[in-house]
């Protein structure tokens, strides 16, 4: 990480607010300060600041090419930022446990391992003993009530089942934060609806801070506690809309007046940003 030198500067820019007793819930989980990234001559992020709240599901939505995926890839360490600092409870990425789910489950899972061994793989990397690997994987699957034949290989499963295995693989390490990069966009509509329910259930069970990049506004609002709306690049926070609807949300939520109002609000901001050429 070449962002360490910025640590001191960012710290002084942003003195910790509130006493430590103000509770975990109130303190932001992820703090992003002065984030900058360019690809060639295109500036994607320029001195970008953002706080992500703890224990919430945050959807990231915005115009095409605005850097939605770049943002979570920088937070998850897949892309190096040019400048800036990203801290998790004041810790660096390599000091925390996190999970990442790719859009392309077909290429992200290991076809030579069974679904079960795929899920257990991150534990092996962490040098967890073989017996604990098995018991922790079984515990996770039982806990989430997943109905899958885990003895199958990924290529013997449907797309949705494979992506569910990917999500379980990301969750098995008990991550503090979970990233999903357009996880359902390679699935057909029926499977997408099913997977939204699965993700909502998993989120309600675990309460893990979750950052979801989505290209479907309805999905983004339906799943989120807050929708992060980004502007065209260089990206700014156009709005950080809270979605207070109770969980579990159902099909009825989609036609709920408050929900429809929030969605319309997000759409308005989105279109304003798209038109701002």
């Amino acid at each position: 990480m070449n962002v360490a030198p910025q640590a001191a500067r960012a710290q002084s820019m942003n003195p910790p607010s509130g006493s430590p007793e103000s509770g975990d819930r109130k303190r932001p989980h992820v703090t992003i300060r002065g984030l900058s990234k360019r690809f060639g001559s295109t500036v994607i992020y320029d001195n970008f600041d953002l706080d992500l709240p703890r224990g919430e599901l945050i959807s990231v939505f915005g115009p095409n090419g605005c850097g939605k995926s770049t943002l979570i890839n920088m937070i998850a360490g897949l892309i190096q930022p040019d400048a800036g600092q990203i801290l998790f409870d004041g810790m660096r990425l390599d000091e925390i446990k996190f999970g990442y789910v790719f859009q392309n489950y077909r290429e992200a899972l290991f076809p030579w391992l069974t679904a079960f061994d795929n899920i257990a793989y991150p534990l092996q990397i962490m040098k967890v003993s073989a017996r604990d690997c098995v018991s922790r994987t079984e515990k996770l699957v039982d806990h989430l009530g997943v109905k899958l034949d885990l003895k199958l290989y990924p290529y013997q499963m449907s797309g949705g089942q494979q992506q569910l295995v990917s999500i379980l693989r990301a969750l098995v390490v008990e991550p503090e934060i979970l990233f999903l990069d357009e996880p359902f966009s390679a699935l057909d509509y029926e499977m997408t609806l099913f997977m939204r329910e699965q993700l909502q259930r998993i989120f309600m069970e675990t309460g893990t801070t979750t950052v979801l990049v989505s290209h479907d506004l309805e999905e983004a609002v339906y799943l989120a506690d807050r929708v992060l709306l980004l502007s065209r690049h260089p990206a700014r926070v156009a709005d950080f809309t809270p979605v207070p609807a109770k969980r579990p949300r159902t099909d009825a939520t989609l036609s709920d007046l408050d929900f429809v109002r929030i969605k319309a609000h997000c759409l308005e901001i989105f279109q304003r940003e798209v038109r701002r050429a």
């Binding site: 360490g77 290429e107 992200a108 899972l109 290991f110 076809p111 030579w112 290529y155």
Partner: protein, 253 residues
């Protein structure tokens, strides 16, 4: 259901057709029996030769040489291919040399290897190993280089070290392509061995058997040796396919 159960027999149609045309041709006497003996006398020669006769001995010799050269090629080419494939700059700098020798007919190397190893088995085996090794090397390196980026990234994001990424992901990713190389390599090795047995002072082997039968105008025996060589080539390919299906079950899926 009926069509399904019949489908398995379709390959037999080609065999039956070939045998029918062949029998008819020899029965009608359209071709001089010295050039084309009847199927019956050919298969009698094949049976007699393989059942404790000299053909069986030659067959074993050719199997041994092909297996030895493929084994040597594999042991050298797979680790080398992994090294080259995982350092792309290294492969790019050696690509021309590998491609050049891969394109050079291995048979053109016989005189050189004769000088190096003399007229024994070493020459035949080492030329065949040389040809097969380049084919395997090329495929292994490409298999490693073309490992899916997302899969490597997935392992990295889970905290896998470089070494674990190499062994847990790159190696497995390269296996389907490695088997393509092995199947091509063993076929090439067999071709080189049979040619070497014909012309490089050989006393045994299928190539020698074909050549000697032709010299003696013992046509049934010559055809029998050709069939034995064909069966060997087909069998080796099938063997590698079965091994691949067993150990690289995800290939092509």
């Amino acid at each position: 259901m009926k069509a399904d159960s019949l489908e398995g027999f379709l390959p037999l149609v080609g065999i039956a057709g070939l045998l029918a045309i062949w029998s008819f041709t020899t029965w009608q006497g359209w071709v001089d029996p010295v050039l084309l003996p009847s199927p019956l006398s050919t298969f009698q020669a094949l049976w007699k030769g393989m059942d404790g006769g000299p053909l069986g001995f030659d067959f074993v010799k050719t199997v041994y040489r092909t297996a030895a050269s493929t084994a040597i090629a594999t042991v050298i080419a797979i680790p080398l291919g992994i090294v080259l494939g995982s350092a792309e700059w290294l492969y790019r700098s050696l690509e021309f040399v590998i491609d050049f020798f891969r394109s050079t007919p291995a048979s053109a190397m016989f005189p050189l290897f004769l000088v190096l190893f003399g007229v024994g088995d070493e020459t035949k085996i080492s030329v065949a190993a040389f040809g097969a090794a380049l084919v395997i090397l090329f495929n292994v390196a490409y298999g490693v280089m073309n490992a899916r980026k997302t899969r490597l990234l997935a392992a990295k994001v889970m905290g896998a070290s470089q070494l674990r990424v190499l062994f847990d992901v790159m190696l497995r990713e390269s296996l389907p392509q490695t088997f393509v190389g092995l199947r091509n390599g063993v076929s090439l090795a067999l071709v080189i061995i049979v040619v070497a047995e014909m012309f490089i002072g050989s006393q045994d082997g299928l190539g020698h058997s074909v050549f000697e039968a032709q010299q003696l105008f013992d046509m049934p025996r010559m055809y029998a040796a050709i069939f034995a060589a064909g069966a060997l080539g087909y069998g080796l390919n099938l063997l590698f396919l079965l091994i691949e299906r067993r150990f690289v079950h995800w290939s092509g899926k």
